[in-house]
Symmetry: C2
């Protein structure tokens, strides 16, 4: 039986998962694909760290180049993370005609175009199933399973940490900071949680999904990103009363023309929708295609095992492509002309949830409604919890479809009113219509 | 640009979907995969029927052999259905070295092994993404995306008609017959609904999923099949009270050893589980792998458009394999040794929901509990709606894990008690633990 000789760069959590699971299911995988997948070398700077797998001395090395440049290695898995050295390692592997598997979403979001061009130039390939939604085969689904479709929209819960925090906030009525602290203690959030809770990680994955679906490389720096720090327990309760839950969604949407929205922000999701029922660290991606209609994909978005399932499936694709000398049978990214560019956030139309802190006195609602009315922005419904005259009370408004620029301009005016006591909170509402 | 010359046999609903959507998205598909997909001939006996697509005279023919034997045709799509002529057509195409795409689950469930052997003998291939769960790329997910995994279990809602009927029964408190009639009037159920509501269609798909996942061909005739005719509005209400909804599930499960359960029957699903929230004609497949953990796949399980999305993705796989002369890069079925055979239904262990019609008099529960106790079968909980002494009342029992054979033997005894007035109803309960 043929074998695929694999070089692994970086043996942290995910690397150990790949090593462990390739050993565990080696025979089954070989029976299924007809090729043995063998890790023949592992490059790692810090061999003294404790690990769940025991890499024999003969397979250990410390320099990535010992993997990327060895002619006896067929494929390189990059798992060191970061956007600088990892990029150099991948470029070096490609230069040596080796296909690369990576889970590095930050790197792909920032330098995907460059890396994919290098892969094309060297007649080799990059696979990255593990970069989005962990073990869920969403890249394969978009790239192959749904190839017949113009993708109309993608809505993803693709950051487990945020979904864990928001799920607990909704279930327990707890505030962000308290749940974050507990999530950190339990290992569901990093000591520095910014990449997760401020939305950057979700945006990295959104850029990858959108670029793949729409065939033009989405500029990460132009993606609108809001994290979940501004969501309060009170927002969860108001949303619940209105029939929604609040999720951090990546929203990717094509209009009829040549523009695609890509944005990341807390979003009110109707309770009856599938995405509203995705709780804890689980991920889900909801994809609407013009031929297939609505589809969804659910699973663990992170973790050594789930992520390694995705990496191994990429390795099998590479092994089969090598067997048939079909190195770029499915390229990592195919530009196409159906959709051309990112829609400016100013032009994005959405419904909104507004929470204002106002002084409870006559005429307040009239002042706010007048500003919205003049901007031609319609109010769908209002919740004003009972308060005491002259005291601060929250005022919740649900707003009809309006342009982002118009909504922001109106909010600026509202925030300047005497009766509004702190900066208003605005979340978008998705109806999935 | 290269092109793939497609011959279509049968242009009913799904055939028209393939024709229409290949035309509609021809440019996009060609951009994405680098090959033009062109239907060059359509074989159909009844050209006088009304259709939503207009097939030019030059492409029309009436004999399947004009498609299967034409050297200018690269691939054959079989969409006539049935298990006899359709099989002959596929065998003829394979003999002429043409890969085949089919949506024919009945044919594959009954004759898959024979057809796949013929494909191997002729060094060509069969693709069948559309045969299970319509537009959901579940075959690709199992065959490729989850290839690293020992599949621990698959639970599928894979018949839209049954799920539509059960969803409406649950929502409206209506009985089976009434909803079926309405479903027929609205086109959600066939005039002869047996294949759907008696579970056969679900079992066809279960055989395909199980065979693919476990690497041995599952004998359709040995699959335990129960349909949904025995589910009543009252059962839905009792299930609801107990925290469940009733779904027709395909259940496929490996034990630690060499046996796999494959069974189709109404199943109580806990309300909090993802599958409980799948309503209407939608399908969902819940897959647990030893590496990836829990994953799920959701979408439309039928319809001209959704099904054609799956067929077109198969066509692209074939087109790419042809381009690289990699005709059996991914075979339709790979036998492997991890799991060997079907577990006899007698040995299957499950929880149960029992509904008995008993006479409301002292000692009834004691008699029933005694039979169960002697068989070492534990009662989890009991619902007995208030009745009038001496009259018939329902008695609902939730039963702990027990072997199917033991449960059936105990039920036989219970049904013979004087106090039990009609045949008991038994549904299985899935805990997804």
């Amino acid at each position: 039986m043929k074998s695929l000789r694999i070089g692994l760069v970086g043996i942290g959590t995910v690397g150990q998962g790949v090593y462990k699971n390739l050993e565990k299911n080696a025979d089954l995988i070989a029976e299924r694909c007809g090729i043995r997948l063998e890790i023949v070398r592992v490059a790692e700077k810090f061999w003294d760290r404790k690990r769940v797998v025991d890499v024999p001395q003969a397979k250990r090395c410390t320099e990535a180049a010992e993997v990327t440049r060895d002619p006896k290695i067929d494929v390189v898995i990059e798992l060191i993370g970061g956007t600088t050295i990892a990029g150099d390692i991948i470029l070096d592997a490609l230069k040596h005609k080796k296909p690369v598997v990576t889970a590095n979403k930050a790197l792909l979001a920032h330098r995907g175009e460059e890396l994919f061009a290098a892969a094309a130039k060297n007649h080799t390939n990059i696979f990255y199933e593990a970069s989005v939604a962990g073990g869920i085969p969403i890249i394969k689904a978009l790239r192959e399973g749904l190839i017949a479709n113009r993708i109309q929209s993608i809505h993803g819960i693709i950051n487990g940490t945020c979904n864990y925090i928001l799920s607990r906030m909704a279930a327990e009525g707890a505030d962000f900071e308290a749940v974050l602290k507990d999530a950190q203690a339990q290992g569901y959030a990093e000591a520095n949680p910014s990449l997760d809770v401020d939305g950057g990680d979700t945006a990295h994955k959104a850029v990858i999904l959108a670029s793949l679906a729409y065939g033009f490389w989405v500029d990460f720096d132009k993606v609108h990103i809001e994290g979940i720090r501004s969501v309060t327990a009170a927002d969860m309760q108001y949303a619940d009363k209105l029939g929604y839950v609040i999720k951090l969604l990546a929203t990717i949407k094509a209009d009829g023309g040549k523009q695609v929205e890509v944005r990341v922000h807390p979003t009110l999701v109707p309770k009856g929708h599938l995405l509203a029922s995705i709780n804890g660290v689980f991920n889900a991606v909801f994809v609407r295609g013009d031929v297939v209609g609505d589809t969804a994909y659910y699973g663990r978005g992170a973790g050594m095992d789930a992520t390694s399932s995705a990496i191994i499936s990429d390795l099998v694709d590479i092994a089969l492509d090598m067997k048939f000398n079909a190195h770029r049978r499915v390229p990592p990214f195919v530009p196409h002309k159906m959709y051309g560019k990112l829609k400016p956030m100013d032009d994005v139309i959405s419904r909104y949830y507004l929470r204002l802190d106002v002084v409870d006195k006559p005429g307040v609602l009239a002042q706010i409604a007048t500003i919205l009315g003049k901007a031609n922005i319609g109010i769908m419904s209002v919740i004003q919890p009972e308060g005491h005259e002259g005291q601060k009370v929250p005022l919740i408004l649900m707003i009809h479809d309006a342009k982002d620029s118009a909504m922001r301009a109106a909010l600026d005016k509202i925030d300047k009113l005497d009766c509004v006591r702190s900066q208003s909170v605005m979340f978008r509402v998705e109806s999935f219509e």
